[in-house]
Symmetry: C2
Subunit: 505 residues, 2 copies
């Protein structure tokens, strides 16, 4: 056997956006493919002078590349930190050993802390392909994790990311399990609590299966992609912040998993709990309030499910040293008017500025959350929390604090407006009796939310209300004509399930 | 709202091989992406004059394309049957409704015949992304399907593909559950049975997790990618055939699912049964013999698992009208000498030609299978099957029939030889006591099998044999130096688990 020397190829940025998957493009007749036996869809290790990443190979049979070039997708280019023309070497990937734990989980076995840690470490390093992530997510869905496993999962997620520590305690946090569109309370709750002197280092996620996550909504008002150091400075200055969790790397594996859950449109209980609690623990929180909207068509459909989840959350919370309180709220219909990043931000500004257009149900919910956390953290005495929260909102302290936070995060932004709108009105007079939140969310997503920030819809009515003929029920907002059409097509197919307008007797 | 007219882009073949996933490349600033709101990883419907397919979008920010061109990957080009420069229009995909059944299965619900049929129909039309397939496969693994569900799955698979009918019965078939490398019996069994006048329209798969499927091995000896019409002609002329199942489209969804199972390295019981029986039923078979190699490191590890699978197979077989018999065989070590397509084909030729190099254990197994099927189909009377099979082999009838089948399939091929080999020998004298079939298979795969047909390994010894120092145990074969190195690295890491050579006392 002759001595084996791996040849090199020159890096070329192809400008192809494959989303998060790193792809390397090589001529099928290049030395590397021939000597290493690489074929389309092989996983290959790309090695530059400074870094090494795993990428999926697409072979090229045209003149897109010369045989001494390796093309990189945008994700591969970014992950590798490549420079144009630099020499790259290639190798068969080391086997991803933690995949055997995933297979073990697929076959119904329980995993331990070390196994979850290795899985999340490999995920956060980009060593899992999408199908592996999909198999892992599926294998953990539908109560297939024990309480111990959820605890291990949570601890593993905390241990592989960055962790924050604060000089004073308590450090509070608030989270909504979500699933109810148009119910963004967090920005106002943070403003009230920080205005009352509490520390609340809030990180939020982008939408998973909803039309807008808190981070999507906040991003229309201020930058949210802060580094950990920038986030720390904002909290030290203002007591609170509103940043996107991914950018501060508090739970790097979780962010990747959420992407797959979104594409599969499934949420998995253990993953949900680990995802919530790991980020709170990593952010240095001591007291956490969790909102469960319960309703037929919300994410949590029954009190039974809610109580099961509550027990799991408080058990796992205690196991990792967090004071955790769950609050069940009405999940029958959106709390606010807007659904979609910009439209929800409008509701938030109306509440902070004490406008008469502020949606009262959303405002009440915010005051309840803020009040409860003021009591949990002993800033307000028992049963005095809501009064203090209301006062902080009405005297303008919360609005001033919110502006200060936005300014500390890089400056407050002006909201944009979607160029295409369409009003859906009552075909006859009647009582508005039921709304399907899932179809409502889907409609907003088809209109472009959250990718198109000003897209979504406005929900103009309330359950139980008597409507006149032609009274507006919804207004769709879209940034492109195609998306507006797509949403309207879907509306046409699902109008009957979306809401019930009962004929007057 | 203005009237909406979708613009077009010109088709451009980019020569990028993405394996089976159809990808469309468009400038992110083109009219379509802007008007439709398409982003990287969007699923888009591509519509040509004659056809419509679903593809995944990669956006391009470089001059790879002009804003009026749409690039297509090789898979997309093939599926669409595109011509260079033709006008293409694009639309948001219709929602894939059967994905809600997949989600239902993920949450542990049982599916019915209609639901499985819709799932497989969408899969066979390329409407599932890899993550959806991975979620479906995972959700069906580990006994998560009832016997009824496996029956529905089998019937659904039959109904969505092509089906064959034959003028005379019985029509026989033989299948091995596999998992034991180096044990390809099918080509010789088919030759014996067809020489005895039986109809055996045999389709085989390529490797799932093994170094060589029967189709991979046969392809080194004759063309196996026949159309259904070609397959029918071969069987009408010669009584039997040996073709690749995918090419005749007998179970189109199954082939896609197998690709994902291979990447995940999991086999799922219900899918396994549906996969086997649906292809037999679609091929028009009436009597089926199924081989279960049982051994510590074979696919089926214990008699208990084998009996469970046997019960399922015969129950589902009966439910769809097939006479099904399961035979458990020794799965402790490879039956033949070669592992890998060409190396296994060498064993087959040695047996057919009655060479003295023919591996005796593999020959015995073939005679047992052929004899049993001769009895099941009443061509031989009870206990006379093996004698007839042996005679057909020894008098050259099987070899002549095999040559006739190869010739009818397009002509017999000459075997190639791998340019790189490496011999692994005994480090000391001793008794050869144990071999790990999984590591053996992995070694052959790392050497390049089955993608590189002449790659793999030869297994020179038998369990219980006394070896001299330096006696050859294995010979690795590879088509590239890189693959040989990769296999040798792996061997170095796993030598101790691979086999046990006991010191003489």
């Amino acid at each position: 056997m002759t001595k084996f020397k791996p040849p090199t190829l020159k890096a070329k940025r192809l400008g192809i956006d494959t989303h998060e998957e790193p792809i390397v493009y090589m001529r099928e007749d290049c030395n590397i493919c021939r000597s290493e036996g690489f074929r389309a869809r092989s996983q290959v290790e790309i090695i530059s002078k400074h870094k090494q990443i795993l990428a999926t190979l697409n072979t090229v049979s045209s003149n897109l590349l010369t045989p001494d070039e390796a093309g990189l997708s945008e994700a591969a280019w970014r992950l590798l930190g490549a420079r144009s023309g630099e020499n790259l070497t290639f190798a068969h990937p080391l086997p991803v050993l933690s995949l055997s734990f995933v297979r073990s989980k697929v076959y119904g076995n329980a995993l331990n802390l070390e196994q979850f840690t290795e899985i999340f470490q490999d995920i956060s390093r980009g060593r899992y392909q999408d199908i592996h992530l999909a198999a892992f997510v599926t294998a953990c869905t539908d109560n297939r994790l024990t309480v111990d496993e959820i605890t291990y999962m949570t601890k593993a997620m905390v241990s592989i990311g960055e962790q924050l520590h604060w000089p004073t305690q308590p450090v509070v946090d608030k989270h909504s399990v979500g699933g109810l569109p148009g119910s963004c309370t967090t920005p106002v709750v943070v403003a009230i609590l920080a205005a009352c002197g509490l520390t609340i280092p809030k990180t939020s996620s982008r939408a998973i299966t909803s039309p807008a996550g808190t981070a999507d909504t906040m991003e229309t008002l201020a930058p949210v992609s802060l580094t950990l150091a920038e986030m720390r400075r904002v909290v030290e200055k203002e007591g609170g912040c509103l940043v996107w969790g991914n950018s501060v790397n508090l739970s790097p594996a979780d962010d990747v998993i959420i992407g797959v859950e979104r594409a599969l449109d499934i949420d998995n209980e253990g993953q949900l709990i680990a995802s919530i609690l790991s980020k709170k623990a990593a952010a240095g929180s001591t007291h956490v309030l969790i909102d469960f909207p319960v309703g037929d068509t919300a994410k949590i459909r029954s009190l039974e499910v809610a109580q099961h989840l509550e027990a799991l959350l408080t058990t796992v919370g205690t196991a990792i040293g967090l004071h955790t309180k769950v609050m069940m709220t009405d999940g029958m219909q959106p709390m606010g008017r807007g659904i979609g990043p910009v439209l929800e931000a409008q509701d938030i500004l109306a509440i902070l500025q004490n406008h008469k257009t502020a949606p009262p149900q959303l405002r009440d919910k915010i005051i309840t959350f803020a009040g409860t956390l003021l009591e949990m953290s002993s800033v307000a005495s028992e049963s005095m929390g809501m009064a203090l929260a209301t006062e902080t909102l009405e005297n303008g302290n919360a609005w001033r604090k919110f502006q200060a936070i936005c300014s500390a995060q890089g400056g407050m932004r002006k909201l944009t407006k979607a160029p295409f709108t369409h009003e859906i009105t009552a075909k006859h007079a009647g009582r508005f009796e039921q709304i399907n939140n899932r179809i409502l969310a889907k409609l907003a997503k088809l209109a472009g939310a959250p990718g198109a920030p000003s897209a979504g819809l406005e929900y103009h009515v309330r359950l139980g209300e008597m409507l006149d003929k032609h009274q507006p029920i919804l207004t769709l907002h879209a940034e492109t004509e195609g998306e507006l059409h797509y949403a309207l097509d879907y509306f046409g197919q699902h109008e009957k399930e979306l809401f019930t307008l009962k004929n007057p007797e």
